[in-house]
């Protein structure tokens, strides 16, 4: 519990530093477009229940659904590909060809095919998360020590049992790391896709405030988006601690 307190204290200190820096920057720039933290936070509190919470809810749902679907599809596929030289021979070139393609460029296509609601956004973020996890899972499952696999097989384990007891747990920490890293990308793409189409979500809210020249409202939206990122990241951290308890020993 002490660790939690220390963590909260860390967040409080960091927040304070950021707020002071923000205030100084806003004073230095002296522009309407960069209001200080006081008006922004005032608007954040004023609009919290009426506007921010609903938009944040929609954004959060889009991003969480995408990450869950992306990880759920990519993890088993990546692990199987990495463990089987024969399947890998087919899939690896496919992955190498498609991984570097920036998936955002498919947003227009997805908008045409799937409309302007939740679907194209979720599809796009899922696609991005999917590839990041796929590559990570493949690498992780290739790096598993042979001796662990041999030992478990010598106990009479079937292929499936080797997967369940060795391959999956061995890869989990890497998968979690990849997930945490992809929250940043996922939220960036979420913002982009919400500004392009639709009338819901934090991306829409921020751009809408911007077009109304309501800069302190815009920053209230930016704060909400930042918080969404922090919460997702922390949730993944907590989940990892729960699921991968052994990685915490001896630290």
């Amino acid at each position: 519990m002490n660790a939690w307190l220390r963590r909260l204290g860390g967040y409080a200190a960091a927040t304070l530093i950021l707020l002071v820096g923000w205030e100084l920057l806003s004073l230095a720039v002296g522009s309407q477009a960069l209001p200080g933290p006081v008006p922004a936070l005032t608007d954040f509190a004023r609009l919290f229940f009426s506007d921010l919470l609903p938009h944040t809810g929609i954004s959060a749902w889009r991003v969480v659904a995408s990450m869950v679907i992306g990880a759920a599809l990519a993890t088993p596929l990546g692990l199987v590909v990495g463990r089987s030289p024969r399947i890998d021979a087919v899939f690896a070139p496919l992955i190498f060809l498609t991984y570097p393609v920036p998936k955002v460029v498919f947003l227009p296509v997805l908008l045409v095919l799937l409309g302007i609601g939740n679907l194209p956004k979720i599809a796009l973020i899922t696609l991005i998360v999917f590839f990041q996890i796929l590559v990570t899972a493949r690498d992780a499952s290739r790096g598993i020590p042979t001796s662990a696999v041999l030992s478990v097989r010598s106990l009479g384990a079937t292929r499936w049992q080797v997967f369940r007891h060795v391959v999956v747990p061995a890869a989990l920490p890497d998968i979690f790391t990849a997930l945490r890293i992809s929250t940043g990308t996922a939220i960036a793409v979420l913002f982009f896709s919400e500004t392009v189409a639709g009338s819901e979500g934090l991306g829409y809210y921020i751009i809408d405030a911007w077009s109304r020249i309501a800069y302190s409202e815009m920053f209230a939206g930016i704060i909400a988006m930042a918080l969404l990122g922090v919460v997702l990241y922390e949730l993944l951290e907590v989940a990892e601690g729960r699921v991968c308890r052994w990685t915490r020993v001896g630290r």
Partner: protein
């Protein structure tokens, strides 16, 4: 019954580029309940022999029998202990020890009982809920042995099981291995790089030739079986004899900096 019969065994690995013949025409008989130490130059196929006996590597030629039955897949009462112990860092000590039983579909209650007993016997019961990462090297080795005990193994295949340990812990565990063997009377095939260990733990010591491995010599070691054997002239004499045999096999002649292949 867990006698071991190896007849004209040949194993070839399909390596990158070229095939590697690891074992060729290897013939060896180990009686039920006999502890045998295997020693030989690095890369001569010792690990391969154990993996083949464990049913994890296919023989290209020859016959492999354990307890009179051909080995085609991992056998129920054969335990394989590798150099790094083959523990799973993500499972607790108790779970690691229970893995063999779990894989074989033994009911949870039975599993708990058997594992608790095995951990107790090896003196690591208080660490049942720890992770392997929290154990010392010696305790990890004990855990690997507990896993074998939980399976009620009658054939122990050990591949340099003590080489990662410091000298004191190693001696302690050599005594433990000897004690376990005296109590249980299982068959043992112990691969080791240590001449002293081979003489301490092997009723016979099998010397393999450089790759592809064959049996180059077998040294009888009737004095083995007591902890005090270590301190006798006979022990030292046998070590010297074995060292000479190994030198004759070119075990010490390898390029000084050649990479070790496990």
């Amino acid at each position: 019954m867990s006698s071991v019969e190896v007849r004209d065994l040949a194993v070839t690995y399909a390596g990158v580029g070229r095939d590697v013949r690891a074992l060729s025409a290897l013939t060896l008989e180990v009686a039920d309940g006999e502890p045998v130490a295997i020693i030989g130059p690095s890369g001569c196929g010792k690990s391969t022999l154990l993996l083949a006996l464990a049913g994890l590597v296919r023989a290209d030629e020859g016959e492999l029998l354990v307890g009179g039955e051909p080995v085609r897949a991992p056998r129920r009462r054969t335990a394989l202990i590798l150099q790094d112990f083959g523990l799973l860092p993500w499972k607790t000590v108790a779970h690691n020890a229970a893995l063999g039983l779990e894989v074989r579909g033994v009911a949870v209650g039975e599993r708990r009982r058997v594992v608790a007993e095995a951990l107790e016997r090896l003196g690591i019961a208080e660490f049942a809920d720890s992770y392997p990462g929290e154990l010392s090297g010696g305790m990890r080795q004990r855990l690997a042995l507990a896993r074998a005990l939980a399976l009620d193994a009658d054939l122990l295949l050990m591949d340099e099981p003590l080489s990662a340990l410091d000298a004191l812990t190693r001696e302690d565990l050599q005594n433990l291995l000897l004690q376990m063997w005296r109590q249980r009377g299982h068959t043992v095939l112990l691969v080791t790089h240590s001449i002293e260990e081979a003489v301490f733990l092997g009723r016979r010591v099998v010397v393999l030739s450089p790759r592809p491995g064959r049996v180059a010599a077998i040294v009888d070691n009737p004095g083995m079986g007591d902890e005090s054997f270590r301190n006798t002239p006979a022990f030292l004499e046998r070590c010297v004899k074995l060292r000479r045999l190994l030198a004759a096999e070119g075990a010490f002649a390898g390029p000084a900096l050649a990479g070790r292949v496990s």
